[in-house]
């Protein structure tokens, strides 16, 4: 990958686009009651722990019309495989080699409070129980998610695109083997049988199972099905995107730095500078809606 390119697009149609200009505006936005001033002189505030990402990205004057058209086509639904909302997936260079999962996915215990639960009952209700994570030296989340999965449960899955020439390294950290799986996909089409990564514990090896970009646009990280009710605990989930051939590094746990899929807010704003010199600038705002849909 060129350092000046970012992997970006709708599912199955991701491609290299110019990397946004420096100093983009990344926001984490959650619900808030707003700051309340009490008559006692003290203050109060109620907020969600979970949040979603917002990105204000700009592509400067150095970009060609064809390069910017890649972006505007995504914004305008030219590469939507399905009706309705087609999320935009992009591998944020700031998160790529850390943990590209969304925070609510990477730290499942957040679902015990306000974040979407990774497993719900069939009617959409039900949350994991937050339990203390066993003592460890690798800074895993203080609390882990204890799920009870039923045959009728609805399980959440997250799509992660894999840029050409890169591999996705997956690490499932928990107390029970066989509860999560990775399905290679090309767009929405499954490629081969699902793979069940070997379960990892509270350790420095954050990831252990590699999926290259060969013949697939990405992977879907989700849960295996069950015939009977089962209870298990997840400490954390990690997915790193590394150049194929580069081994992951043992280190402390890294929380989710990526997103679960975004939507363009509006269609972006394009500034045509010069047809003669083929120079166009573009600014767009993306909001992460992948786990809120």
């Amino acid at each position: 990958m060129s350092k000046k390119k970012t992997w970006f697009g709708t599912r199955g149609f991701e491609t290299w686009v110019p990397t946004p200009s420096i100093s983009p505006d990344y926001g984490r936005v959650g619900w808030s009651s707003g700051e309340q001033q009490f008559t006692s002189g003290e203050a109060g505030l109620r907020e969600s722990k979970n949040a979603h990402n917002t990105y204000v990205l700009s592509w400067g004057i150095s970009n060609s019309r064809d390069a910017i058209r890649l972006l505007t086509d995504f914004a305008e639904g030219v590469y939507d495989l399905r009706d309705g909302i087609n999320l935009i997936y992009w591998i944020d260079p700031m998160a790529r080699d850390k943990n590209v999962l969304s925070q609510a996915m990477a730290t499942p215990s957040l679902g015990s409070e306000d974040a979407p639960s990774l497993i719900t009952d069939a009617d959409g209700t039900g949350r994991p129980k937050a339990v203390a994570t066993p003592s460890n030296a690798f800074r895993y989340p203080a609390r882990s998610a204890q799920f009870t999965q039923k045959p009728t449960s609805i399980t959440y899955e997250q799509y992660i695109p894999i840029p050409a020439g890169f591999s996705a390294w997956v690490g499932v950290h928990g107390d029970t083997a066989g509860v999560m799986q990775v399905q290679r996909v090309n767009g929405y089409t499954a490629i081969g049988a699902p793979v069940v990564p070997t379960i990892l514990g509270l350790e420095a090896n954050l990831v252990n199972t590699e999926f290259s970009s060969s013949a697939s646009s990405g992977i879907v990280l989700g849960f295996t099905s069950t015939l009977a009710n089962r209870t298990f605990t997840l400490y954390g989930l990690v997915v790193q995107i590394l150049p194929t051939g580069v081994a992951p590094v043992a280190q402390n746990f890294i929380s989710g730095q990526g997103n679960a899929g975004c939507q363009f807010v509006g269609k972006g704003s394009k500034t045509p500078y010069s047809a003669v010199f083929d120079r166009v600038a573009f600014t767009a705002r993306l909001v992460e809606t992948g786990m809120g849909l």
Partner: protein, 741 residues
């Protein structure tokens, strides 16, 4: 983004699809977990076949120095339909003497013999082997398990034999395999002597969770403490939904049951009214579950515990579960007449008369004593107060009822015959119908019988009457009846009246007839006596209490009349009138507050109350299945202890139940206790309006504390000293529990 807010709509009952066959094991004795014999496994080339009880498998022992292809043929166990089809056979082999083994299909049903490779099976090893083959359209041939080495006394135990269509060796199953919610296994006929099928089904939840991000408002009103106060409506809520549903689906939400869960404020349940929406969002207005009580019903007369009466009233509107009645009402009894009215209105009167309130908390309808909870004001963001003297009156009045349950009591004439009792008259063959109001509420009435004579003093036990003709002489009962004369009685819808239908006998010469007895030529009196079973009431009163407002302050002489069937003693009447008096005798104090929370602990701004689900789970774990066992476990503890214990169990947990617990709570402001009457709860906090709720008991408690603090004796002199600055009782009542000038 939400903050743990969920809106669940119940569309229908949960349902499952029909079971559908997914797999079929064609082996009739597959040697699964319930196998009991070696039926169908045939010896080949001098092998020994025997059932092995410990493993529930079949032991195949091939002789040393025998044929290579010694083993077993189990083709007889295959339920086979002629045709070209691909099958896969697989089985577990438990090695007892190490050797290699293979499956071999031979004979007419395959074009050429098909063998699997030999699979080595070591001693103690369990190895699953399989073979896939495609049949001819011919009859079944042979299928063998054969050993590899002729020189050995090869020995293996066969288990879990699977023969099914398809080219994949799938996991073993038979009719005895474990069943699950969405998967089951069955024998097609006799267990271990027939094929097995594996079936699956799908689950369709009757509810769905809608997306909400813009929040909600839940309005709750506490039921009043004054029996003449009709305020206190069933709760309502408005929820703003993100448009995750189509408009058509949104419109179908009307009349559906909706559960609102906010991890900060609790759970409440409502019934959707009519939704409305825009391009962006949908607004859903609902009534809380208690709205079910806002319908008119007829209640029968009742005598028993208040708990049972509450259960009966809830049952009148179809609420048979999901309610919690405070144990205090198990010990309280009452005898009440029947009525026809809105159940919610009567419930409020009853609760006000008995010092209770009703609310909806954690989706349960709660009936409990008032003043159980106290708020704190440390999170207030707005506060205002007001006094209103537009309802002043010089006095109030009240009545109380002496109610008695009687069988075959005299319902008409009320209190027995007297000279004012009307004599009814009917012509020959004529039918007249009229209502008789009663001082009783009847559940049954005795149909009247015609007699020749009824005395003035007759009071029962039967319903009777006699008839006088136009000549002033008694009409014999037999003659009256033979000529079609009769009286029929029905209980009115409100149970407090009788509908009387009189048909005159067809004897023209004696008409018109009077339902009367004669004691002389001009001395007739009503003879109609009607008896029945029910609650008989004697109304006492009026009792008048003078307020502190005189005629210069208000021209209203009687501000309100306390007249409630549920006030059954003079003591109860005075208690009830005290509350009414406070609302008409001086300005009504009220406050309005905005706050982020009114609880005593925690940071969510709401009460932390345990749910009954929490308790049930714990009680089950303790083996408490009856109230007796519960009572034993909590012997010697006050209910308050119990509450506190359970509050402690959830103070750090999800269950912060503001819904249903905020309205009716009390708050102390400026020398007065106020009771929260109307609350609007939203994700970010709540606002409430509260009314003066100060009691004499409150004042006593406060005054004793003031005296103790100052080391003063508990005397009127001390009282006077402390309140010397107050010019009048009116001054004092403005802020009775404040020494601030």
């Amino acid at each position: 983004m939400s903050t743990g807010i969920e809106v669940k709509v119940r569309n229908r009952d949960d349902s499952y699809s029909a079971w559908a066959e997914q797999r079929r094991n064609l082996i009739t004795n597959p040697l699964g977990a319930t196998a009991s014999a070696s039926t169908g496994y045939i010896s080949i080339n001098s092998a020994t076949i025997a059932f092995d009880a410990p493993t529930k498998g079949v032991r195949v022992t091939a002789p040393a120095a025998g044929a290579v292809d010694a083993g077993t043929n189990f083709a007889n166990l295959v339920t086979y339909t002629t045709g070209i089809e691909t099958y896969t056979v697989s089985m577990d082999l438990i090695g007892e003497v190490a050797d290699g083994w293979r499956i071999s299909v031979q004979g007419t049903w395959v074009p050429v013999r098909v063998d699997s490779a030999y699979t080595p099976v070591g001693v103690g090893q369990t190895v699953r082997i399989s073979l896939t083959f495609t049949t001819n359209a011919t009859a079944k041939g042979a299928i063998y398990l054969l050993r590899q080495t002729a020189a050995l006394a090869s020995r293996v135990v066969i288990k879990n034999v699977l023969f099914e269509k398809g080219s994949t060796a799938l996991p073993f199953f038979d009719g005895a395999s474990a069943d699950y919610e969405l998967l089951r296994n069955e024998w097609t006929s006799t267990p271990n002597l027939s094929p097995s099928i594996q079936e699956t089904r799908t689950f369709s939840p009757g509810s769905e969770v809608l997306k909400t991000d813009t929040g909600y408002t839940v309005r709750e009103e506490s039921t009043p403490v004054d029996t003449t106060d009709t305020t206190g409506a069933a709760g309502s809520m408005t929820i703003e939904l993100f448009n995750s549903l189509s408009r058509a689906a949104t419109k179908r939400l009307s009349r559906k049951t909706v559960t609102l869960t906010d991890r900060g404020q609790g759970v409440t349940v409502g019934v959707a009214k009519v939704p409305s929406g825009s391009l962006v969002s949908t607004s859903l207005t609902m009534d809380q579950r208690t709205v079910a009580l806002s319908v008119v019903r007829t209640a029968q007369p009742f005598s028993g515990t208040l708990r049972n009466y509450f259960i009966y009233l809830l049952g009148l509107v179809g609420i048979v579960d999901g309610y919690v009645i405070d144990p205090v009402y198990t010990a309280m009894t009452g005898t009440f007449p029947g009525w026809q009215d809105e159940v919610w209105l009567q419930m409020k009167r009853l609760l006000a008369a008995k010092g209770g309130e009703i609310s909806l908390a954690s989706a349960n309808i709660i009936i409990r004593p008032i003043r159980g909870r106290v708020t704190v004001d440390k999170r207030d963001t707005e506060f205002s107060w007001s006094m209103d003297d537009s309802n002043l009156a010089q006095a109030i009045e009240g009545y109380w009822y002496e109610n008695e349950q009687r069988s075959a009591g005299l319902a008409y004439p009320p209190g027995g015959w007297n000279e004012d009792v009307q004599v009814y008259q009917v012509d020959a063959g004529e039918t007249i119908e009229f209502d008789l109001p009663l001082n009783a509420s009847l559940s049954s009435v005795n149909q009247p019988t015609a007699l020749d004579y009824v005395s003035r003093e007759y009071v029962g036990p039967n319903s009777v009457y006699c008839v006088v003709g136009s000549d002033g002489l008694p009409v014999p009962a037999a003659q009256w009846v033979d000529a079609g004369g009769k009286i029929q009685v029905l209980i009115g819808e409100d149970t407090r009246s009788l509908i009387v239908r009189i048909t005159g006998a067809s004897i023209d010469r004696y008409a018109p007839f009077r339902i009367a007895a004669t004691a002389g030529p001009s001395d007739n009196y009503s003879s109609l006596r009607l008896t029945g079973t029910g609650v008989f009431s004697t109304k006492h009163g009026p009792v008048r209490l003078i307020t502190s407002a005189d005629e210069d302050q208000t021209s209203v002489e009687i501000g309100a009349t306390v007249d409630v069937d549920f006030i059954t003693s003079l003591s109860d009447l005075y208690d009830a009138m005290a509350w009414t008096l406070s609302r008409y005798g001086g300005p009504r104090h009220s406050i309005s507050v905005q706050t982020t929370g009114i609880n005593r602990s925690g940071d969510s701004g709401s009460y932390a109350y345990p749910t009954f689900e929490d308790f049930n789970e714990y009680a089950t774990s303790q083996g408490w299945t009856t109230f007796t066992s519960f009572n034993t476990a909590y012997a010697g503890d006050l209910f308050q202890d119990f509450n506190e214990t359970w509050a402690a169990t959830v103070s750090e947990s999800f269950v912060n139940q503001a819904f249903g617990n905020v309205a009716g709570a009390r708050t102390f402001r400026d020398g007065l206790w106020f009771r929260l009457r109307t609350t609007d709860i939203s994700p970010g906090g709540l606002s409430y309006a509260a009314e003066n709720d100060s009691t004499v008991g409150d004042f006593d408690t406060w005054m004793l504390a003031q005296l103790a603090e100052r080391g003063l004796p508990n005397t009127m002199a001390s009282f006077n000293t402390l309140l010397a600055e107050r010019a009048s009782f009116s001054d004092m009542s403005a802020a009775p529990m404040s020494l601030e000038n």
